[in-house]
Amino acid sequence: MLTYMIRRTLYMIPLLLIVSLISFSLIKLMPGDYLTTARMNPQITEQTLQQQIERFGLDRPFLVQYWFWLKNVLQGDFGTSFDTRMPVFKTLFFGSRLMWTVIIAMTTLVLTWIFAIPIGIYSATHQYKPSDHVVTFFGFLGLSIPNFFFALVLMWMLVVIFHVGDRGLGVAGLLDSRFFDSPFSWAKFVNYIWHLWPVWVVIGTANMAGLIRLMRGSLLDTLSLPYVQTARSKGLTERVVTYKHAVRNAINPLVTTLGLSLPGLVNGGVITAIVLNIPTVGRAYFSALQRQDEPVIMGGLLFFSLFLLIGNVIADFLLAWVDPRIRYD
């Protein structure tokens, strides 16, 4: 098992190299570059534009640019953002972006599981009953409504229907403005929760439907197995059969999705973060994409790729951990 994990970890290196080359090529295939908008500024001369092209190294051939980038990365220098003039990862993680990305990803994951697993169990144990259809419907509603639209509607309801402004409560962002430069306090913590719950609802409901259906399907499969019938014939209550025996096995496949869902949570909530005004790494990356800030795009791609690969390794590890039948060489 240890050997397998080490081998998987080492495989990441050539994978990341290939990802970086493909990503760099795709960036260069995009029309224009970071200076395209500057070219449309009547007050900038050709000479200044040329100086900037040389300063950013945009006049070098594609492979030369990639080689210089790779050489610097291998020395730990991921470059400087064209936009902010700060190092790439400082730009991506500036301030509290990484902290909030992790907080939102983790809390959303926990809350999604807290709600999705019981709903999935309920749905499986009440198969085809009206209540099963109702919970399934709401699960899919969360999945089918576009996140940005849901976020806007939620805020609209808070402002226009519930008039939260009259109660001194704000919408979007992390805090009401009166707390921006105030020290940490209980009131400030409560205000954080007030601003974060729409994020959890929007992102969480989008992720819940898949998990509900997975839990439901897995439990239905498990409940039809012979050992469950044996347990029932031995006189165990349905509650014990379901929760002590069936759920424990049915939840195994879902555990592996934990690792796979991590990268999605980190970078999948970009539009929601933009609409709800939350500082996240994904949002910084999105800005870099819009402006074709190449060093940040490449640095961000490496970061998210690494997250994905680590997520896959975690998924494999968890699967082996919960299911003793699975062993890797």
Partner: protein, 608 residues
């Protein structure tokens, strides 16, 4: 001993307090804004009181705190409030007015501009501001090729040289020009930077630092206590993607006629809101005090205005910039094709026919919800040189403003006269030779531009012109513009008060003269006259004379139809009535974007 320590501590505390309080009295050389003074553009404004916090929003985060290396309004909105220059553009009229300089003179030959600086004025950390700071800002930052400076190009004189800045004494400097060049006054509004804080980062002053170090100075990760400015505010707090807090500069030299030091508001709290729908919701929720609204917001905001005590200001003043279609007069040159089409596009009669097919009233009503004006020329409407304003030498009458009325019948007859008729009976007009004429019209993914193009496509097709509209990526569109490919491109350009800032666009060899790059090699009479007028307008400090030259310039370009202008949205905004003087916001005070609010002249009415 204990008593001595306590006394020393008290003295120290009082000293700090004294430093933080600013000037002991209004400096003799203070800049007095004529608030409420009859006969000035500020006469309708009210005197205010100090205190309170103004809450505004911005759509993007700043990308640094260094004004000279900033290239975007999301940054300059803040840096403009931290730093000011020798001169400024008046918030209302757009005319060049003194700012940190208290006066300036121009020599009789027009080649030497002498600036007299305000004495006794300090940076926000209490250090006196002198001519050394001006020399540092100009010679060592603006003109320094190591610095990725956004204002250097504006300093270039027609012969390619730069003005020579020299110090006469601690409070007097001169700029010597090689040729008379009036636009240099606008360019000399570059922001002053503190030499005592920043000289160490300039390689030519401190060889120990690598060249280009200044470009990475005052980035977002700089401790905010390092920021020093001479503007009304200083940034004191920044939470990424959340907020920027600015507090008053205790040494700002602006005052009102009653002797009250500006700004009135103690703080400006800017919430970063990336989505404009969310900005509007926050405004309705009372979280932000001012909102630069869109036409579609008006029917939502108007009904609640009285109940929530805010005002919705709808003006008829167009925003800066131009929106146009460009009929490519160099089509086919890159690949040696389309000679007949090129000849047709170069015929001004054909372009006039297309101009008569532009239904600008429908565009304004349907696309801008009635909140826009038609454009006819290259100079932004808020500019004092716009043929029609009365700041310099004007107004000219409506008859002098050239326009092409929407007249499909006239357009069709012009096309017929050119031989652009349906030769093969397929319902579409053809080239004079009988070959098919198909026009591709492109724009980028912008809802307003797409709407304009759809209207134009319908009108072109209605008279038999086979026009196909397609949305393309912005970068691809810019590539078409510079590569002289494509038939018709719909885009826009930013604008300003100084017509000469459009030289790159309208002079025959300009890098953005995209409608006919070949004019550089083969200029016609109109091209030559436009080049001449740009120089004449720049080579005089007589503003009335300059206005005359630019009037002819605008008429020629309106006739030439190189860029055929469409419509520009008008400026509107909303504000809570507790914000005093907010009603005076205008697009003219948007050199740094965002709402056009004169932040330093607004005040909290609830404190009265």
């Amino acid at each position: 001993m204990k008593k001595a320590l306590i006394l020393a501590g008290l003295v120290f505390a009082f000293s700090l307090a004294a430093l933080a309080q600013g000037y002991d009295a209004m400096p003799a050389d203070a800049l007095v804004f004529p608030i409420g003074v009859a006969g000035t553009v500020y006469e309708d404004m009210d005197l205010g009181v100090r205190g309170g916090t103004l809450n505004v929003s911005n759509i993007e985060d700043p990308r640094g705190w260094n004004n000279h290396t900033a290239h975007e309004t999301s940054t300059t909105w803040f840096t403009y409030r931290m730093h000011r220059g020798l001169v400024n553009l008046d918030h209302i009229s757009g005319a060049v007015v003194v700012d940190f300089a208290k006066a300036y003179e121009i020599s009789d030959d027009g080649l030497v501009i002498t600036f007299h600086l305000r004495e006794g004025i300090k940076w926000s950390d209490g250090t006196p501001i002198t001519a050394d700071d001006v020399l540092f800002s100009y010679n060592d930052v603006v003109l320094n090729e190591d610095v990725d400076c956004n204002s250097r190009d504006g300093q270039i004189l027609p012969d390619g040289t730069f003005p020579l800045l020299e110090k006469v004494d601690d409070y007097t400097v001169t700029f010597t020009l090689s040729t008379i060049y009036r636009p240099i006054l606008n360019a000399l509004s570059f922001n002053l930077m503190p030499k005592h804080k920043l000289a160490e980062y300039v390689h030519k002053l401190n060889p120990d630092v690598p060249a280009g170090t200044f470009n990475e100075t005052w980035t977002l990760d700089t401790p905010l206590t390092e920021l020093v400015g001479n503007g009304p505010y200083i940034v004191t707090d920044y939470q990424v993607n959340v907020s920027v807090t600015m507090e008053r500069n205790p040494y700002y030299y602006g005052y009102d006629p009653a002797g009250t030091q500006l700004p009135y508001y103690d703080k400006v709290q800017t919430t970063i809101v990336a989505n404009q729908d969310v900005s509007m919701l926050k405004f309705r929720n009372g979280e932000i005090d001012v909102y630069g609204l869109r036409p579609e917001d008006i029917p939502i905001l108007l009904p609640e205005a009285d109940a929530k005590d805010y005002s919705v200001m709808i003006t008829d003043l167009a925003r800066y910039g131009t929106t146009w279609i460009m009929i490519n007069q160099d089509i086919g040159i890159p690949d040696g094709t389309d000679a007949e089409k090129r000849e047709l596009y170069r015929n001004v009669e054909f372009r006039e026919a297309l101009a008569h097919l532009l239904d600008k009233d429908t565009m304004v009503q349907n696309v801008l919800n009635g909140l826009g004006t038609a454009q006819w020329g290259p100079v932004s409407v808020p500019s004092p040189f716009y043929a029609g304003r009365d700041v310099y030498g004007g107004p000219i009458t409506e008859n002098n403003a050239v326009w092409f009325e929407y007249d499909p019948t006239l357009a069709a007859s012009k096309l017929d006269a050119l031989g652009v008729v349906d030769a093969d009976g397929d319902g579409w007009r053809d080239l004079p030779s009988g070959a098919p004429l198909t026009m591709e019209m492109n724009t980028n993914d912008n809802t307003i531009r797409i709407a304009y193009c759809l209207i134009m496509q319908d009108d072109f097709r209605a008279v038999g012109l086979n026009c196909n509209f397609q949305v393309v990526d912005f970068n691809t569109l810019v590539g078409q513009l510079f590569g002289s490919t494509g038939d018709i491109i719909m885009l826009g350009l930013t604008g300003g008060d100084e017509p000469n800032s459009g030289k790159n666009v309208y002079s025959s060899c300009g890098s953005l003269h995209a409608y006919r790059y070949s004019a550089c090699e083969e200029p016609d009479e109109v091209d030559l006259r436009i080049d001449e007028l740009l120089d004449l307008g720049a080579n005089t400090f007589d503003l009335d004379a300059a206005f005359g030259y630019y009037t002819e310039y605008q008429q020629l370009l309106a006739h030439q139809l190189g860029y055929v202008y469409l419509c520009q949205p008008t400026f509107q905004y909303s504000y809570y009535n507790k914000v005093g003087n907010a009603f005076m916001a205008s697009p003219t005070s948007t050199p740094a974007g965002n709402n056009g609010l004169l932040t330093e002249l607004c005040f909290d009415k609830t404190l009265l």
